[in-house]
């Protein structure tokens, strides 16, 4: 046994059960929720528990006793003896070394666990397909232990389970950093596999990443080293067996900017440098190829009568005057004609519907005139997103910058990315044989696209639901993040195998999504520090309070 800290107390009001137990401990011993303790049990077995609640009690029968004990409210009163007090701790049973789950007995000794015990108890030992996902810190002072934690990659990027959802308030929760930490770990794992390919049986297993940059320059230097990485962080990376080098094989897709207006927060010189290194490209939308994507502009428009859908079908099928149109300006002109009274004999689509359609499309195209262009010039590194995704290679990371675009345009680009990946995996874009087996998509601010309040027929919502429900078998994995998990569509979060909860607020915790989380852990969620997550994954026997180091790639001040 490790350091003894107390004994089991099974009392009338709080008996030990199959699920949990209570023990008393010295009031000065520092323990924390999520710490693992072990208990001597019958047949020389060991029961492991994870701490859920810690309470301090004295023998004072009421607050009044305390008041009276200070000479009826004299704050200066002193006493020779402090009231007898102790801490009692509620722990949840998570494992038994002999699979004995009868309740632990009163008076059994409780001790701290060592690294091996913790690994066994939390299901962290002998993990197949290990993928570093952070580290655990337990106990305090001389007893402190630190150990790396690994996911079984089959349970986060398939085939057993897929999709990760990260939630937490902005700024402190560092959702993007955690997602990128995992992506770094995955990429390194697959790059190592690549090197050992000859030894690997599953040579087809490969992965690629598509990441959307939604804020400032957050993800626009993934391939540049973080010179400010501290020694402490470096040691943690070493413990986790992850190199401190930045991510590799990164391509950046910036929205095309004209001379007059910039559509990105990235420095134009940096972009130029990246272009010269064949790392950066500028994306455009060309009418001929992308007219079918117009539906993405309607992702937040309620179309219960399906008139918008009728118009979209009308245009996609080149019906009416939309036949033989090549450019966006022509399209807008024809559209304008349809908005004139008596311009069409089609009775199914009213002029009012055409006008509504025109208003939405015209606003989107006119405010992003440089992106909705006539053609791409490959020599100038101008591309279509779909074409880039079509050619995505294993271990490649494509960063699509949408940070400076307006909300509707962001949705349009995200929808395009999602659908392009979906079509690629369905074999509709390319017959290539070396399409990566898994494509991981990371999107922050998922609430914009898969909100509970999104229209039911939103094409983006439909795509996201499709990915979360069927993506695992297709090899499309969604890593998503948002501030408030409760705002996300139930079918989307319900299909995520892993959840990471960062710091959030008390209002959010009161929502139904957090009901299954023990009360004390809920409280902890409002106090989590930066770089700290409460993680749920099917292979762990309990929720884990994980920490992770600062990112290995360059961090810009103020984004």
């Amino acid at each position: 046994m490790g350091k003894l800290i107390g004994k089991i107390a099974a009392v009338e009001k709080n008996p030990t059960t199959i699920d949990d137990f209570y023990f008393w401990t010295d009031k000065n011993i520092i323990l924390n929720p999520f710490d693992v303790v072990k208990v001597e049990h019958i047949s020389k077995s060991i029961t492991y528990g994870v701490i859920e609640e810690i309470s301090h009690i004295t023998d004072a029968a009421s607050f009044l006793s305390s008041f009276i004990s200070n000479d009826f409210g004299n704050v200066d009163s002193i006493s020779y003896t402090n009231r007898i007090g102790m801490n009692y701790v509620k722990a949840k049973v998570i494992a038994n070394s002999s699979n004995i789950y009868t309740p632990v007995h009163d008076g059994c000794k409780v001790s701290l666990a060592d690294k091996k015990d913790v690994e066994y108890a939390l299901g962290l030992s002998n993990i197949k397909n290990p993928l570093p996902c952070g580290f655990l810190e337990m106990y305090d002072g001389a007893d402190k232990i630190q150990l790396p934690v690994h996911f079984n990659s089959n349970f986060i990027i398939g085939p057993e389970g897929a999709h990760l959802n990260i939630s937490g308030i902005s700024g402190l929760a560092s959702k993007t950093s955690y997602a990128m930490f995992l992506i770094k770990a995955i990429q390194q794992t697959y790059l190592l596999k690549e090197k050992q390919k000859a030894k690997e049986r599953d040579t087809k297993d490969s992965v690629a990443f598509v990441v959307l940059n939604v804020k400032g320059r957050d993800l626009l230097a993934l391939d540049e080293k973080n010179d400010k990485l501290s020694d402490k962080d470096k040691k943690i990376y070493e413990m986790l067996n992850i190199s401190c080098n930045p991510l590799e094989n990164v391509k950046f897709l910036y929205p095309y900017s004209s001379k007059n207006e910039s559509n990105t927060y990235a420095d134009s010189e940096d972009i130029q440098e990246q272009i010269e290194m064949k790392k950066a490209f500028k994306y455009k939308y060309i009418y001929e190829n992308d007219k079918t994507k117009l539906e993405m502009m309607f992702s937040n428009i309620d179309d219960s009568s399906q008139t918008m859908e009728s118009i979209l079908t009308f245009i996609s099928n080149d019906q009416g005057k939309f036949n033989n149109i090549r450019y966006w300006n022509e399209f807008l002109e024809i559209l304008k004609e349809y908005c004139q009274k008596g311009a069409t004999s089609d009775k199914e689509i009213s002029v009012q519907s055409w006008r509504k359609f025109n208003r939405i499309v015209k606003t989107a195209i006119n405010s992003n005139k440089s992106i909705f262009a006539n053609r791409t010039d490959e020599n100038q590194s101008e591309i279509r997103i779909e074409d880039m995704i079509k050619e995505i290679k294993k271990n490649e990371i494509i960063v699509v910058d949408i940070a400076k675009l307006d909300e509707n345009m962001q949705a349009f680009v995200f929808g395009d990315v999602i659908q392009s990946i979906y079509q690629l995996k369905l074999g509709q874009l390319s017959m290539r044989e070396d399409i990566p087996q898994k494509i991981i998509v990371f999107i922050d601010e998922l609430n914009k696209y898969a909100s509970k309040d999104a229209p039911k027929d939103s094409p983006i919502l439909k795509s996201i639901i499709d990915i979360t429900e069927r993506g695992r078998s297709l090899g499309i994995i969604l890593f998503s993040a948002e501030q408030f998990k409760s705002a996300i569509h139930d079918r989307v979060k319900g299909n995520c195998s892993s959840h990471a909860y960062g710091r959030t607020n008390a209002i959010e915790i009161a929502k139904n999504d957090y009901k299954y989380i023990p009360h004390v852990y809920q409280g902890m969620m409002t106090r989590l520090k930066q770089g700290e997550y409460i993680v749920q994954n099917p292979i762990f026997s309990s929720l884990l309070n994980l920490k992770f180091p600062n990112p290995v790639y360059k961090q810009y001040k103020n984004g």
Partner: protein, 382 residues
């Protein structure tokens, strides 16, 4: 089941157990005539070196007593049970079982309070006539030995410490026999208290800087003491650094020689004050003099009766000059101030006697009681 009763029926000649209803007497201790205040308590002499006519305020002294004089706390407790009525010959006697606990706790510092001694034991009190010949001095020892050999007791790792016998030579009513039987258990508890004090002295734990505070009176009657070596007169030197503090007392029994009763004076004792100390020479304890005084530790405004919040303090006079002149008034003040400083925390809500209780004593008592077998468990051994 009734295993112990079957054993008695089997081993005590010509007896019959009725297997009557078993119950625990009120767990609250009640004094027998052999204990606590004595009816012949007449105080006429001063018990301290300085003569005082009125109350002595302790407030100044309390502030100067930064560290406590008391390091050890002793309490004795017993719980008694009527387990059966037994017919021996033509008479019916009660069998009274008991659990005795005597414990001493040490206050190492403000936050560390730990037990250092615990004497607990199971006893049973039966009439003397259980030994039919009345001359076999080994009868009850043999009976105890055989009782402890019962397999079910061994399985449970239980052992009876003594079989006590109460006098049955006179004819009493049944409940008077019960009182006699309980008194025997009480005497046994007192005996154990004395043994604990003796061991503390032997281990040199108590001294002028580390006093022992004993819950209750020190006026141990010598009437029930079978082992002569435990007579208070012979062991009083053990009590040089021991102070007895009683939560309850009969104020009417105290007479200062001028008026009939001191009850009014005691009742009107101001907060953090003491009465003058009196010399007490109980008739029932030969050659032992006590210094006795009263201290108010709670404001009368906060208590439900005038005697709530007052404790009675006793100290055995040991040295020759103490026997002649009484206890040094300086010592009386020091002890009193320390007792006042022990007033917090309180056991309000946990013990009805909170106003008179001292917290370390309350803890010691709680510790002893926590070591008792549960009433149902114990009763079902019989």
């Amino acid at each position: 089941m009734n295993k112990i009763l079957n054993f008695f029926e089997d081993k005590i000649p010509n007896c019959k157990c009725y297997k009557t209803y078993k119950f625990c007497f009120d767990t609250k201790e009640y004094p027998t005539s052999d204990y606590n205040d004595h009816k012949d308590f007449k105080v006429r002499k001063s018990g301290e070196t300085e003569k005082h006519d009125s109350y002595i305020s302790l407030e100044k002294r309390m502030k100067s007593e930064i560290t406590s004089l008391f390091r050890f706390f002793l309490d004795g407790s017993r719980r008694t049970y009527k387990v059966d009525d037994i017919a021996i010959g033509n008479r019916v006697f009660p069998i009274i079982a008991g659990q005795i606990g005597v414990g001493c706790c040490e206050r190492v510092d403000k936050d560390t309070f730990k037990p250092i001694k615990l004497e607990n034991g199971l006893v049973v009190s039966i009439p003397e006539c259980s030994d039919k010949d009345g001359s076999d001095k080994y009868f009850f020892n043999n009976l105890l030995m055989k009782l402890n050999e019962l397999s079910f007791l061994k399985q449970k790792n239980l052992e009876f410490k003594k079989i006590l016998t109460y006098r049955d030579s006179k004819t009493y009513e049944n409940d008077q026999y019960e009182n006699l039987a309980i008194a025997k258990i009480q005497d046994e508890m007192i005996q154990q208290e004395k043994e604990v004090v003796k061991s503390l002295v032997r281990e040199k734990l108590i001294n002028q800087d580390s006093y022992l505070l004993k819950d209750g009176s020190l006026e141990y009657s010598e009437k029930g003491v079978e082992d002569k070596s435990f007579r208070l007169s012979l062991i009083k030197s053990n009590y040089q650094h021991v102070v007895g503090v009683s939560k309850s007392f009969n104020p009417e029994l105290c007479d200062d020689g001028k008026t009939k009763s001191m009850a009014k004076k005691i009742a009107e004792l101001p907060l953090y004050s003491r009465t003058p100390a009196f010399l007490l020479e109980p008739n029932i304890i030969q050659d032992v003099k006590f210094c006795v005084w009263y201290v108010r530790i709670r404001d009368i405004k906060r208590t439900i009766s005038p005697f709530d919040g007052i404790v009675k303090i006793e100290k055995i006079l040991i040295k020759d000059n103490e026997m002649r002149n009484g206890l040094e008034s300086e010592d009386v003040d020091m002890i009193s101030a320390n007792i006042c400083n022990e007033r917090n925390p309180v056991a309000y809500g946990s013990d009805k006697r909170w106003a008179n209780h001292l917290y370390p004593v309350f803890l010691t008592e709680s510790y002893i009681k926590s070591k008792y077998l549960s009433d149902i468990y114990y009763l079902n051994l019989f």
